[in-house]
Symmetry: C4
Subunit: 288 residues, 4 copies
């Protein structure tokens, strides 16, 4: 197998691993999806005492199987990626690394460290769930809508926090320690619990004045919830019109409003299509 | 009564049972509606100890009356349906069967099985409430709006669950057993209770760091609620324009945008109207 | 004072009592508004033990003062109303009567009946707060928007209740008496508390399966809240355009889209305007 | 330094303190922002017992540093303001004063008054957080949207309160003292807690009838939340179109729809731009 064959294999694998528009690429994606879901489910189950004591050995075996699988996936992604540094330092590159690291680290430190450290490291495996985000294509539209309304969200959160700090302080003064308002940070926590209508009830006002202030805060929180809804609704309506019509260049990320564009207008790369014929014609998209 | 007479009766009954646009059809619907409501109400009341001991006999009689009524309805529906297999295997065909089965099954197994099995079987009768869905004409529009936004809802639910799994694990690490975070599944349950702003308070953070993470989760949950609202608002606005103008063919289900159409443009069947004259003219719609 | 003078007085008083577009009419409205607010506030305060024992006598005097005031108002409304029967049997006519009746009834029955009956009758006075609705002009638009979306709201409530009945029954089976699910009605109450994200926590699932079902219910409830929001948003947007442009006839209630109309196009009555000159010109609107 | 030099310095300082479109003005804003955040954070932390006893001295020093800083800022703002009376009596003028007063007052009264008064005065410092509002440019749009929908919000709040008063009274009658409904004000507090879906659970219905009324209230509250959302969504959509296109005169506040306007069409003042060249050209805007 000479250099040319290896390069051809690399390109083919890139198609499968990074692409989603070929049958084998889609199969790879679905298989990976299930591997992620089951592996996270195993981590979650392991924390239940009776499951750990009954099926501990099986869970540990499954853990190693998934870790090796994800290690191979990570290796292949690095090997086939067009721009390795970009992939390794990207959000998904770090998530892929974090998904496999804990199992190896625990193996290394198990003897010399305390149990709580080991437990902490093992729990990091749960961040593996973030690998799922890669498969949520619609997520990009959501994120873009959120990003577009960032200044409004900052204002909204500032307003919520300002209100929480002031009400928390007032309630700390009014209610005091008996009702659970032991310090301003705790009171602010209570104010956020109330403002967001969660309402645990672990801390609750007892004096008439405290209940009056709380009632005002609740009605305000109830009215304030309309604000982010209005913001997102607006961005959604706007986003739908603009985003839905674009075609994205696989190499440089440039978005074209011309849906029939065959070449990227910025970098000149050929636009990826869903037809199989183009793939066989030997013009692989520059993914990764 | 020869074969032709029976066929005529069947067509007439189909008009009453499946149709909604004739006086007798509407009467049948309203009567059935009340029978369903009262029968479900009886099942619900029977679970209250003092009502069961005081009115047990009356409730059991009512139960048999409703079961026989629904059995007759089920029989007639099968007999008069145009495409019997389609009806029997449809959602409403199964609901109609489930509505009558438990009473008969309990009668058969009562002697030989334990009480808890009998109780479980009897409670299935409550699914009878799903028979109501047939009468909610507007429900179709709602379901279609939901169906149209399915990919966005999947993304939304994935985001909520990913967030719940990660926060649940972090809180399990931070709070530990004393505050009720006994395992990751329990912590994830707590995260969902918090994120959806339900907030029972049976499990609540006690450490300062745990309360800080919770507060962040609440504000996020508060902001996230805007997303499904935005989605549904959008689909509603869109759905209203498209759906409201259509006329549906009773035979093939084809929807016409021409509201004055007298014949279906796909199968040629006469479009059902609300006027009584057309019904007497002898062109029954091919319902069922 | 002859008959003509009395009639003139009646017309003048009607202007003040039912009208809102003259200075004296507006003054009457504001005075009444404060009387209602203070009188309801008194009823609410009277239920607090220490306030009743300290200021009981003052509150009872105020109560009589307000009752006499509202009785005079009720008498004048009947006397000056154009169509007395319509007013007396209207929503506001009944509210005006209910606002004064309890005080007299208590006086009559106080000796011969038990204290709990007297307390119950006295509390009816709180419905006096409904007199406020008359002063909320914007409320009509809100009510019309709600009315327009009634079929959708019925579907929505039916869906919520169907879901609550089914989940309640399932949880009653899963959790049993220990966790508080003592009967299906109680479980349905719990399901509504959860679905609406209120979440008292007096009843909460304890088994893993129960917590899983609850979590599903919460996420569903979280998504369902988007539906009424979408409905109302839609109706609001639609309502704003249509309603804002209309002018209403004070006699027959007919709405004209011609904002400059000087006479009602249905009954020929002169349209009420806000200018003072027209009032002095002696053409009272036919209110009441 | 003669009079002219001082005037020039004053104008320059005004540019830095009130303006936001010059590099030094922006630097001043960011520095002030952090000072506010850290100083509020100190006040909040001081209320935690163990932090106060460990770092009390450091916190008190920081407090004095921030107070002196804010005093200088307040002094400069008064000195450089174009219309001093307007600034001093404006919302931000009062907030700036309240931000510095408590530290001085505590110093004066510390000896002669009780500790609780001192604590109360010290806590007023937390209102310093309102200084942040000045830096939220988007807040104006939010406030304007809220202001535009004020009549609708009044109706909405009146409806919520009317409902809370009536339900509270009914529940007070139904449930009585055992379940926590000790007086009508407490019951109204419970009704608001329920209606806004906060649901602490400190007061919860126990009788079947009480639970039924509560369930109705919850479903209503669930539906009512759609109303403010609809209102704000509407105002937002409307507000976005109108507000986004305007340019505001720094002197008279007049808003121009001509985004390229170089002079205010009402007062003739030069419109402030973000380019540095114009600033050096010596035409300071008449801010403050």
């Amino acid at each position: 197998m000479d250099r040319h064959d290896i390069e051809k294999l690399r390109v083919k694998l890139r198609w499968i691993i990074f692409g989603v528009n070929t049958p084998s690429g889609r199969l790879f994606d679905v298989a990976l999806l299930w591997a992620i879901l089951i592996s996270v489910f195993c981590v979650v189950l392991e924390s239940v005492t009776w499951i750990r004591s009954a099926y501990g050995q099986a869970l540990r075996s499954a853990e190693w199987a998934f870790t090796i699988l994800f290690t191979i996936e990570y290796g292949l992604r690095i090997w086939t990626a067009n721009r390795r540094k970009v992939y390794v330092t990207s959000f998904f590159g770090i998530v892929d690394l974090v998904a496999i690291l804990p199992t190896y680290v625990v193996e290394l430190v198990a003897g010399s460290h305390s149990l709580s450290v080991v437990r902490g490291v093992r729990l990091i495996r749960v961040f593996r769930v973030l690998k799922l985000v890669r498969h949520l294509k619609e997520a990009h539209q959501l994120l873009r809508a959120l990003q577009a309304s960032r200044p409004k969200i900052v204002v909204f959160l500032s307003a919520v926090l300002t209100l929480a700090v002031i009400t928390g302080t007032v309630m700390y003064e009014l209610e005091g320690e008996e009702a659970g308002f032991t310090s301003i940070p705790t009171s602010v926590y209570w104010a956020i619990v109330t403002l967001t209508t969660v309402g645990y009830g672990d801390i609750a006002p007892r004096t008439a004045l405290g209940q009056f202030v709380s009632a005002c805060l609740m009605v305000l929180g109830y009215a304030i919830i309309a604000v982010p809804t209005g913001i997102v609704s607006m961005e959604f309506t706007r986003g739908r019109v603009v985003v839905a019509k674009r075609l994205r260049c696989a190499r440089c990320g440039h978005q074209s409003t011309d849906r029939r564009a065959r070449f990227c207008s910025r970098c000149g790369a050929r636009m990826e299509r869903r037809s199989r014929s183009r793939r066989l014609a030997g013009t692989p998209p520059h993914l990764g």
